[in-house]
Amino acid sequence: MKKLIPFITLVALLGLPALGLADDAPITADTVQNNLNFVWTCVAAFLVFLMQAGFAMVEAGFTRAKNACNIMMKNLMDFSVGALAFWAVGFGLMFGASNGYFGHSDFFFSGATGDDAPWNYAFWMFQVVFAATAATIISGAVAERTKFSAYMVYSIFVSALIYPIFGGWAWGSLYHGSGWLEGLGFIDFAGSSVVHSIGGWLALAGAIVVGPRLGKFDKNGKVKPIPGHNIPVASLGVFLLWFGWYGFNPGSTTTGDTSIAMIAVTTTMAAAAGAVAAMLFTWMKYGKSDIGMTLNGALAGLVGITAGCANVSVTSSVIIGLVAGVLVVLSVLFFDKIRVDDPVGAVSVHGVCGAWGTLAAGIFDTAGFSMHTVGVQLIGIAACFAWAFFAGLILFKAIDIVIGMRVSEEEEMAGLDFSEHGASAYP
């Protein structure tokens, strides 16, 4: 523990008050606020990390038992491989000294480059969990049929290139960069677009390229549902994601200040409203409330409030959540109808509701409604779709050609647990 390491003795001194020697080491309020910012930002990052577990549970619960190990591997690996890729390349592209389109410094992040090393670490820590989130989103949409090797490859490209480049456009100036989109005044506080829509539109491209699972659509194109194997696990995942979102949204202040409370409140209300809206809407539509949709509804509300969590009123957050909850249901049905097979609804939750959230952040801006703001938001939404979807198409097509995106029919029927990992989830 601390005593054992020289280079933080200063810190140890600061710590000493705790050991009753306060008077020896006077420190300034600025220093303490700075420390508080570190504590808050790190704690928030840890909560966001836990979203990986949430995604893993949601995806596993909504798919079949024979692919559960593969899903765990994917979720563990897109974080692990993604973190390495973001460390080596992505962070520099996103936050390095930039020409407005991409950064070109701070590769193989060592914390040493640039000023003020300690804060670099805190900032990087918060950014890496965001990058991993974007990569994980795709996983669900291409589940149960994608080659593990192909998955590894695109995870690297997403964390190292696709996510950081758009991220730089919107958030670069938070560090050494500067992006054209933020230049316009684009509002995306915690990443409805930067993280969720990017992930969602990539997921769409992936689902299209890899194609639907065997048996998802019959010869006449009618949907034949493939129920997930463990709904309670999927629900646990949603609770974990919701919990992690309290790091995702309030944490995006990266300062421990009074603004986090209001962000936590809008986040809570939007999620609640999203779940309620989806529940009631399916109840009216089918005569029974649909649990899968309700779970998606809660996530839809969370994605929807992510952009505007810091600049909309509580009442607006409720409205944003309600709309997202209905939108996600319609969107899932729509993508089923156009025969895009998205086992967990990632495209609808993250892509569609991410776009909605970005728009809503403009419409309900507490700074007052202005066509200009809304216009900028629309530009951001369009840029996000264009970049993510087409970069995705190219990436996945390329992978498909080189190593193949999809396993063979036999392997798919046997399940990826066996064919990719020689394992079974519940032996």
Binding site: F62, V223, K224, P225, P227, G228, T282, K285, Y286, K288, D290, G292, M293, N296, V329, V332, L333, D336, G345
Partner: protein
């Protein structure tokens, strides 16, 4: 010696078992099965899409008994397992030529 196979509604298992033991049946083997018949399945809802469940959970009861007991057992099971509602199930009787108790090697009647 014959084998009596009964396919019944799961929640009836206890009643049937108790009735049989009361009349002196000392052994039976049970397994979970899914049935298809007049009692059509139901539709379930999954993430906004409805689908048909054709097979309904049932329990299958197998006993091998001496011929003299057959009618009495069939009768009892029929009585106990009957709810009068569609899907109550079936009883099938088929011949068994030989029986062995693994523990002792006894065969025939004594093995039951």
């Amino acid at each position: 010696m014959k084998k009596i196979e009964c396919i019944i509604k799961p929640f009836k298992l206890d009643d049937v078992k108790n009735a049989l033991t009361e009349m002196g049946v000392t052994g039976m083997t049970v397994s979970e099965v899914r049935g298809f018949g007049r009692q059509k399945g139901h539709t379930e809802l999954y993430r906004g899409a409805e689908y048909q469940i054709d097979f309904i959970p049932k329990v299958k009861l197998e006993l091998v008994v001496n011929d003299d007991l057959i009618s009495k057992i069939v009768e009892t099971v029929q009585k106990e397992a009957c709810t009068g509602r569609i899907g109550d199930g079936k009883i099938f009787v088929s011949p068994v030529e030989q029986s062995v108790r693994i523990r002792t090697g006894e065969t025939g009647e004594d093995s039951l």
